[in-house]
Amino acid sequence: MMKKILFLFLILLVVAGSVFAGGKKEAAKEKAEFLVWNQAEPQSLDWHQIEGVPEHRIYYSLGEGLVTSDPDTAEPLPGVAESWDVDSSGLIYTFHLRKTTWSDGVPITAKTFVDSWLRVLNPETAAPYAWFPADVIAGAAAYNSGEAGPESVKIKAVDDSTFQVELVGAMPAIVSAFSHYAFAIVPTHAIAKNPDSWTQPENYVGNGPFVLESWEPQDKLTVVPNDKYWDKKTVKLDRIVYIPTDDDNVGFNMYLNGEVDWAPEVPLAQLESVKLMDDYVVAPYLGVYYYIFQVEKEPVNDVRVRKALSMGLDRDTLVKKVTGAGETAAYSMVPPMAGYKPTPGVKGTIDDAKKLLAEAGYPGGKGFPEIEILYNTSDRHLKIAEFVQEQWEKNLGIKCTLVNQEWKTYLDTRKQGEFMVARAGWIADYPDPSTFLEMFGSGKAMNGGKYSNKIFDENMEAAARMAPGPERFAKLRKAEDVFITEDHGVMPIYHYVSQSMIDTNKWGGWYPNAMDWHPTKFIYKK
């Protein structure tokens, strides 16, 4: 008897639950709620403290700088700045700001920009992305490193609605870069009032198309339209819910089960079945997957060995059979972009590879020390490494061991240069070739492979001080030629695609684009 009652009770629970759940879901949908699987729990809503993609997605809702970006092309669109112009040197940009306010009604003026940009650069703020403004604004690096005071930074409020910034060098994509959160404005008046809790919903002040409604750590973050937003007529969604989970299977299941409307990632194991679905959206993405050589370690200190290894890898099969999402085989570090033709890179047959290897003193792979491939824990990196291992053994007679390390350990090993070959990936911060090359300058913090070449450095430095145009691209191209085609300092493997799951028949204003930037103000329910 007892058991029967219990059994009935359990059935009741489940049935009631599913009815309840279904009913609630439909009611919510009528209100144009957009649910996003946002991968990780946001680190912060203080734009000067963030560095990740999940936070960037939220920034598009809660913040806005001088410009925002076009959802289709990722080109800059007016934000707080209505228009802008640049002087003949290409170095001084003047932004004309619109009359607008924070969500609490306090006006946003040119001084807001000066205060905010000085805050991100202030060494005491310890902003992880301060390097970005420090790299491009004249005098900013000196202030950020504590060598000079804030007065050295070449930004100024000409009047309430005119903001001027002087650059270190001409950068073609600079206006687009200003849409990045590293150039965000923050409500200094609200921060002064609640220095430790201004990002909590009850104190939150923002200037984006949405304002913060609630934030439950590891559960969800919700935003609702901002009444004070200058372009509020464009904003169509009633609410956006950002749901965090680091586990891509858990996140992806939410999408498959209709619990979120947008999944920004597809687990590799599910790809084959997902590719057949209508709501799978794939687009070229400005990013490159590559293997770094530690150029001081034998045997990869020999350029012939590096080239042989590169020729010994069949990238076409790799992108077709292993990654399989439409990635393109890469021989250059820089993906193709408007006006820039990337370096041809190292291409050759297996015989060419064997010949190079023989010249380097390893005929048929004989005497070649075992190579270690370092990668961080991930299904994708493992599968790629296994493929490379098999290829090098089959094509060149070289044995490899795979070294798997957990993320932070891997980063540390890579930074210290304690590896032979290590996987890496790079996503453009702004659409310009320099973002892919800069970090390989001699002695740069990110240059774990210890690559160093004076010609590369000189060309990069020259390009940094040149006006946009074909001549500047020629310098960058020369740098890439030296780095990839001649020295083969790293081995490019493929250029990324972005993969999303979203039903574009239901949701408008969301487009795939090369930066994978998706400003939420344009998203609407069809």
């Binding site: 680190q43 950020n144 909590q200 750590p217 299941n253 932070k408």
Partner: protein, 309 residues
């Protein structure tokens, strides 16, 4: 007894001190730091950040600073989640873990004892075999398998339940069903087996025979005499069961997106978020120590043969 309680209570502090100290230094041995990322930060910016969090100081000084702040009840700032401190995140997430854990414990206790009792009273019938087979399954299948299998069946295939989430969200309390089942499966099974065995033993004992001979009602014998003795092994299992609920909930919280402490525990370790790791370690240790302590006291109460000096 009171003296024993006081002594045990005071013993909590040196234990904690040792745990904190060992953890503090062990996590610093792990390669990488809280601010390492794919984009290696320029040296200057890294120095700014380390200075802000006093990570540039000698390790012993950092340790002293941390211990003083812990004694004041302040677990410090989180290095990863920068908007709030560790106290805030623990305050937000611990209640959720405790809610899930308590429901799972209550259900495993009630159903486990019930199943054990039925099994014992119907020994060697099909009911007994059925209950014990279920119990074996519960013990042998790990929860990181049970969880995803439940999701696959009840959410993905049947569509009865949402895949994950928490009861404060849009789907309400039904989100609790799968995490509770996953978390209680093995506890239920253990308790059922334990209570079955001990009830069987007691049923054969002399004093029960006496009770029957006296003509007492079956239900009186069962509830007044059999259960009290029969539950002793279950009580001693409560301590380990509770720690299993806590550690198990780390997996369950990830699979079902429960915004609990376990999630922070795992992520803080991966992120090298030193203060958040230590904070969660302290909370877990305190809970475990207190639970063991409570179990000892209950045991003393239930079993008059035990005395504490």
């Amino acid at each position: 007894m009171t003296r024993y309680i006081i002594r045990r209570f005071l013993g909590l502090f040196p234990t904690l001190l040792i745990i904190i100290t060992i953890s503090f230094f062990i996590i610093r041995i792990a390669p990488g730091g809280p601010f390492d990322s794919e984009k290696t930060l320029p040296k200057q910016i890294m120095e700014n950040i380390e200075k802000k969090y006093h990570l540039d100081e000698p390790l012993l000084k950092q340790y002293a600073r941390y211990m003083i702040s812990v004694m004041r009840g302040d677990l410090g700032p989180s290095y990863r989640y920068k908007d709030q401190d560790v106290n805030y995140y623990i305050g937000k997430s611990l209640p959720n873990s405790l809610i899930l854990g308590s429901i799972a414990m209550t259900i495993s206790l009630v159903l486990g004892i019930l199943a054990g009792m039925i099994s014992a009273l119907r020994q060697n019938t099909w009911v007994d075999y059925l209950v014990m087979s279920v119990a074996i399954i519960g013990i042998t299948i790990p929860l990181f398998v049970i969880g995803p299998v439940l999701v696959y069946i009840f959410a993905m295939k049947l569509g009865w339940l949402p895949t994950s989430g928490w009861f404060t969200g849009r789907y309400g309390w039904v989100t609790l069903i799968m995490p509770v089942i996953t978390l209680s499966a093995d506890k239920f099974a253990y308790i059922a087996r334990l209570s079955r065995a001990s009830i069987l033993e007691i049923l054969r004992s002399d004093y029960i025979r006496t009770a029957r001979a006296k003509g007492l009602k079956n239900s009186t014998i069962l509830f007044k005499h059999v259960l009290k003795g029969g539950l002793l092994p279950v009580v001693s299992y409560l301590g380990p069961a509770f720690s299993a609920v806590l550690t198990g909930s780390i997996v369950v919280e990830t699979v079902f997106r429960v915004p609990g402490l376990g999630k922070f525990f795992v992520q803080s370790a991966l992120n090298r978020d030193y203060t958040l790791i230590l904070g969660t370690v302290i909370v877990y240790s305190v809970i475990l120590i207190i639970m063991n302590f409570v179990v000892d006291i209950i045991y003393a109460y239930l079993d008059p043969r035990i005395s504490y000096k």
